[in-house]
Amino acid sequence: MNPVQSDNAIKAAARASVTIGRPADELRTLWLDPGTQSRIWTHFAEVNPLDGRTAEWLARGPAGGEYRWRSEAVEVGPDEIRWSSLDGADVPNTGQLIFRPAPGDRGTELHLEVRFDPPGGVIGEAVSKLFHIVPGEIVRHALYKFRALALTGEIPTTDPQPAARKGGADR
């Protein structure tokens, strides 16, 4: 593998970690709640859970591009949840969330990885062009939203709020 390819491969495999001061089983239950999935990916995609194991995803790209896929849980264990897009996905991808105990009184570490495998082998930069967001940001922001939800029951937002633009409100 030449260096350029390996660089792209890293970019297409987006990873992020957060630590949340709650026990793993509680976080696992919250993650698997269909309502959670539809709230934590909003910066990237609309997620419509069909049941506990499958969901429909719609990611919008620049210039009106729309990419759809259906995802299915392939493993739901005590320390690990894995899912994968099904055949026919516009942008095939797989995801993995690992729970690990954090040291001391810090709760649980969550390690999230999503790998995109766009058709034709375009990866890395291409993924960010496709969705208008870099892969790292997709997973980081999802984990931050999940952390807020787990700790406070809500996700921080300013949308909409007063501002002297767009008719007086920021959206």
């Binding site: 630590t19 001061g21 810090r106 709760g107 940001e137 980081r140 922001h141 931050y144 952390r147 807020a148 700790l151 406070t152 029951g153 809500e154 996700i155 921080p156 937002t157 300013t158 949308d159 909409p160 709020q161 007063p162 501002a163 002297a164 633009r165 008719g167 007086g168 409100a169 920021d170």
Partner: protein
Amino acid sequence: MRALCWNGVNDLRVETVADPAILNPKDVILKVRLSTTCGSDLHLIDGLIPTMREGDVLGHEFMGEIVDVGREVTKVKRGDRVVVPSFIACGQCWYCQHDLYSLCDTSHPKPELQEPLLGYPTAGIYAYSHAFGGYAGSHAEYVRVPFADTDCFVVPDGLADEDALFISDAAPTGFMGADFCNIQRGDLVAVWGCGGVGLMAQQGAMILGAERVIAIDQYPERLAKAEAFGAIPLDFTKVDVIDALKELTGGRGPDACIDAVGMEAAGTGLQHAYDRVKQALYMETDRGTALRQAMLAVRKGGTLSILGVYGLMDKFPLGLLMNKGVTVRTAQQHGQAYVPRLLEHALRGELTPAALATHRFSLEDSPTGYHMFKHKEDGCVRAVFAP
């Protein structure tokens, strides 16, 4: 409603905007009773903080009355008169539970704008650029306050609005700066800056038992306030600050130095001229005159407490701190950790925040208020707006 909006460098206008609404279950809506200017706003108005957007509602130091509550608010209620710290904190995360409220893990809605600069997102703050969360500010008739049970503090009946107002920002910031100094018997504390934050740091240091407090600035009316609080005033344009501090401390130097000036320090000499040119060219954001002086003045093994806001200063004489074994403490204010005790100190008259409220304006006249505050006209320490 009407609100004071940022429209670009030195361009503030009162405009009609939408009313805020409850967005999350722990939110409340406050009818603003008083809202005030802060030295931090000057960094925004002067264009030194990126990621402001035209039309942003300004203001982060405020108090008011709760007029609407979200469905999960349990401790505060409609009709309560409350003061709110400028940083938004959830009360649930590791940072909040360790009294590090301005580092809250969950209140920043736009972490992607801040994380590249700082490595991690901080708490969100009202009206302090989108990199700090982009929350609409308090120079308005109404403001939305998230996490109301953690962030709204009921003002006791005997305390005036003007006193409660500064317990939102200037007082907890100054008090935290004094708290950082771990003041021991016989300690002398020097404070650079006699704006709202510096004056409150001086009173804080006295409450925490400093033997003497020395106040440094150049504006006679601000130095007079410091003196009235019991501090020893020093005009940095009239004396050599380092010499004067050595004399006042028997050659030892202050045990702790507090920087309540920040990146727009006034100064003299070559280093200051260098900073000024670089700042004008946007090569760096900071003029660190006061901070560098505090680093030189602090005694060996002493404490440097930094409250002034800085960007990414490129010329920072770290060797001064290293070779002198100086302890550095700094933070954006962890207000929620201090507000209850500050309300008590104010009730007992040990803390007199209302002394900062030198000028009062209607919201419509707030641009004039900012002009006077920025140029320190007519002895203005803080311009207070009553919407």
